[in-house]
């Protein structure tokens, strides 16, 4: 999963400090793997260098300096591209997809469109496998069927999520 894009997406809903970004990330997406501070700051300096975020203010009440980051127009475009681009269909992509759906909801983009686009990418892959299965021998058929069942499980998740978008929106972006 792309941490850079995720942090950018979080910034789109408003400027934040590095600490605040880490906390929000861990709360929404980091259940089994919270971010290190080092990851946040190295990601932020890369995004700064690429012009996707800018420093919006610096505070230093007593302690060390704390930068507040804001997303730039180029950053917003980058988030849009990432969300609109379907993931390569493969087993176990739920966590990236879940992140994209939540960010779409948080930033007022269409999560339903995102899910439809992803489903279509899955379907294209299933079409290729189905074709191979149709022309292949029994071994090809079994191998393709294995992949097809996994992709189908992803698709069920996409359907379920798509049916629960209104509910999810209330939870993630109250």
């Amino acid at each position: 999963m792309s941490i850079g894009h995720t942090l950018l997406g979080l910034l789109e809903s408003g400027p934040r400090h590095g600490y605040d970004l880490k906390r929000t990330f861990d709360e929404k997406f980091g259940q089994d793997r919270p971010l290190h501070y080092g990851q946040v700051y190295s990601t932020m300096s890369r995004l700064l260098k690429n012009g996707l975020v800018e420093v919006d203010g610096v505070e230093s009440e007593g302690g060390p300096e704390r930068k507040r980051y804001a997303i730039t127009d180029a950053g917003i475009t980058d988030v849009s591209h990432w969300l609109a681009q379907p993931e390569k269909p493969e087993p176990y992509l739920q966590s990236t997809l879940y992140t994209k759906v939540v960010l779409a909801l948080l930033t007022g983009r269409s999560a339903a469109d995102l899910l439809d686009t992803q489903r279509s990418a899955h379907l294209r892959m299933m079409r290729v496998l189905t074709d191979r299965k149709r022309q292949g021998d029994l071994a090809d058929q079994l191998i393709c069927d294995h992949a097809l069942f996994h992709l189908e499980a992803d698709l069920r998740w996409l359907e379920l999520t798509s049916a629960r978008l209104d509910q999810l929106a209330k939870v993630v972006a109250p």
Partner: protein
């Protein structure tokens, strides 16, 4: 408005039942010999779209063009004649005439188009052979399994040499192995005879037999090929 080279094209269809909008600006097109899967949540308007395209129900507004002819400009009799000569249908179940044998069922579209009995049944048997159910000729629909019955139904849809087959959840009542076999036979036969197929399904493994997919949501259709 009509995509170039399309055989059947609908533009901006609207259909309301009471206060329920079933179609809300849906557009759709299919090329000769193309298999298009129509997907989307329950109640989104898939069957309504299919019934409008097939001239079974009339939309409140919007245009449907088949082979250069506007469907709404035809009389009811002309539309029925078109359905008999150019369209074939496969539904989830209950489409075979229970009083007729399987071969008589498959021969029915030909008989309705004026083909004589012997010739019609000969053609019917050829299609049943392709669908691997030629041994069921003398049985009645009540005496065959669900999967066999669907193959007979597919043979019947193909027997009249249609240009378009409309299939609404054709595998909905079958297990996945039988469902896939029916899809394989249907799409192979359709492609070799250059028959277009409009396939409504909620099963991805079934939709994977299509050339292209369209998503219907809240009465509107989205062509997924151009979505990214």
């Amino acid at each position: 408005m009509i995509p170039e080279g399309s055989l059947l094209a609908a533009h901006d269809l609207r259909k309301t039942y009471g206060s329920t909008p079933a179609l809300d600006g849906a557009s759709f097109s299919v090329h000769p010999g193309e298999v298009v899967a129509v997907m989307g949540p329950s109640g989104s308007g898939k069957s309504t779209l299919l019934h409008c395209l097939a001239g079974i129900i009339t939309p409140d507004s919007g245009t449907i063009t088949y082979a250069g002819r506007e469907l709404s400009a035809m009389s009811d009799a002309e539309r029925s004649a078109l359905r008999r000569s150019d369209f074939g249908f496969v539904f989830q179940f209950g489409q075979l005439v229970p009083e007729l044998t399987c071969v008589e069922n498959v021969a029915l579209p030909l008989r309705l188009n004026g083909v004589r009995r012997r010739a019609a049944e000969r053609t019917a048997l050829e299609w049943m052979e392709r669908l691997e159910v030629d041994d069921l000729g003398t049985k009645r629909p009540g005496e065959v399994s669900g999967g066999q019955g669907q193959r007979v139904a597919v043979a019947r849809a193909l027997a009249g040499s249609p240009k378009v087959i409309f299939a609404d959840e054709p595998t909905g009542a079958l297990d996945s192995l039988n469902g896939e076999r029916v899809m394989q036979l249907l799409t192979e036969a359709a492609r070799s005879a250059n028959v277009a197929v409009v396939l409504v399904t909620h099963e991805a493994r079934v939709a994977a037999y299509s050339d292209r997919d369209v998503t219907v949501r809240d009465g509107r259709a989205r062509d997924m090929e151009h979505a990214v």
